[in-house]
């Protein structure tokens, strides 16, 4: 399985973990599942009842929005970098 890097902003960082977490994952779904297993409270924020990404967070794979790729099924390669940040619309 490809080795990828999950990058979280400090606001979402997991206590006891660094902002960057290396993990094995063949598709985006594996990364999201791994994150939710460490931070279960993020589950309902990240995914809707059909297991699809909610837009309250934006997920980028090497800087490209995952929703414009293949969503949760986007295949990953070695050294891919996955960033998750809250979507913001206020002002």
């Amino acid at each position: 399985m490809p080795l990828v890097k999950l990058v979280l902003p400090r606001a979402l960082a997991i206590p006891g973990h660094s902002k960057e977490i290396m993990m094995e994952a063949s598709m985006l779904k594996d990364v999201i599942d791994a994150l939710i297993s460490i931070r279960p409270e993020l589950g309902s924020k990240l995914l809707d009842s059909n297991g699809r990404l909610r837009s309250i967070f934006s997920v980028y794979i090497n800087g490209r929005n995952a929703e414009l790729l293949n969503g949760m099924e986007t295949e990953l390669r070695d050294n891919d970098e996955i960033s998750i940040i809250p979507s913001v619309a206020g002002g």
Partner: protein, 356 residues
């Protein structure tokens, strides 16, 4: 471009900065910008841009000043409640710097009006509070090929990215499927005035850098700032060929809209509030407000140049702007709000035709 001695003195402390200098000050004087939305972000940003001598500033906002704005929108004070934001802002900015031009537009921005509000400027700066309107601005900026400094903030965190049409990721590359319905609003989860100041400061710094040097750190990057950890993080972002706005298969999501349209916004002082979008901006004649007061026997609360706020039919409060926008507080439903609006507008039109 010539500066008077007065202007040189006014700008002296920034002219000595190597990043600006006299050449940069000239670029700022020549520059034309549009700030869309003068709420939490836009207020601080327009004050700085005006004070720094940006030559032409277009300010666009559809709303009037309300009490719950004052903790973070420092251009406005208690006495301004009920006045159109653009009217108050334009007056303050001209007092602050008489050497610049300020163009106040009380316009409801959507797909119908976005192109007009972003045309003829060097840069568009984001002061908006929702994604739907930002999409319209993003698409209009792509169309007229004008750089768009996207920024937003809520609670204690905020984001910013400079969008250069045809070069960098656009708003829909960044926020492909983000819909307002999914996101919390500041009336629900709040917003710290300091995060607005921080994001606004970044806007001012990057906007002036771009206007002077045609470059910005925020190209191809999404900045994420959080006050809680005092952190600033950059996510490198890229254009996506599947983007519905700037990609290969551009999808034009144009549904024919029927105007006037009603939008229900957050309650104001505990009362249901509706904003009526007239579609194309109207230009109601100057005498229209005094006419409404006289002929329709309404009780005026605020009579401004660009807007009138009045009591109507007992428990309603209505603000009518020169562009035809109305903000109706206290209506029981969208339908009732629309009916009231149509009644007022119909009588104005009729009376206009009769020559008032």
């Amino acid at each position: 471009m010539e500066f008077s001695d007065e202007e040189i003195e006014l700008y002296s402390r920034q002219i000595v900065l190597p990043e600006i200098g006299i050449g940069g000050q000239e670029e700022l004087k020549k520059a034309r910008v549009a700030v869309i939305g003068i709420g939490g972000l836009g207020c601080s940003t327009v004050v700085s841009l005006a004070a720094m001598g940006v030559g032409y500033i277009r300010i666009v906002d559809r709303d009037v000043v309300e009490k719950s704005n004052l903790h973070r929108q420092h251009l406005y004070s208690y006495k301004d409640i009920g006045y159109p934001k653009v009217e108050v802002a334009a007056k303050r900015l001209k007092e602050l710097n008489p050497y610049i031009e300020v163009d106040p537009l009380p316009i409801y921005v959507d797909e119908t009006t976005a192109r007009d509000v972003v045309s003829g400027v060097d840069m568009v700066i984001d002061g908006l509070d929702n994604i739907t309107t930002r999409r319209a601005i993003n698409r209009a900026c792509l169309e007229v090929r004008t750089p768009y400094l996207f920024s937003a903030a809520i609670q204690t965190y905020g984001v910013a990215s400079l969008i250069i049409p045809g070069e960098t990721a656009c708003l829909e590359c960044l926020y492909a499927n983000v819909v307002d319905e999914d996101l919390p609003t500041c009336s629900v989860i709040g917003v710290h005035p300091a995060i607005l100041q921080l994001i606004s400061a970044i806007q001012v710094s990057e906007a002036t850098n771009y206007l002077i040097h045609s470059s910005s750190i925020l190209q191809d990057k999404l900045l994420f700032c959080d006050l809680k950890s005092l952190s600033m993080e950059f996510i490198p972002v890229k254009r996506v060929s599947g983007c519905p706005a700037c990609g290969e298969k551009m999808k034009i999501r144009e549904e024919a809209k029927k105007y006037p349209m009603v939008e229900e916004v957050c309650e104001r002082e505990g009362v249901a509030t509706f904003i009526i979008n007239p579609g194309k901006s109207m230009k109601l004649p100057p005498e229209v407000f005094s006419h409404i007061i006289r002929e329709h026997k309404v009780e005026p609360i605020i009579l401004g140049e660009l807007g009138l706020t009045f009591r109507y039919g007992g428990n309603l409060k209505i603000s009518l702007l020169k562009s035809g926008i109305a903000i109706i507080e206290g209506a029981s439903s969208r339908e009732q709000a629309l009916e009231i609006y149509k009644n007022i507008i119909a009588t104005i039109r009729l009376d206009c035709e009769k020559g008032m």
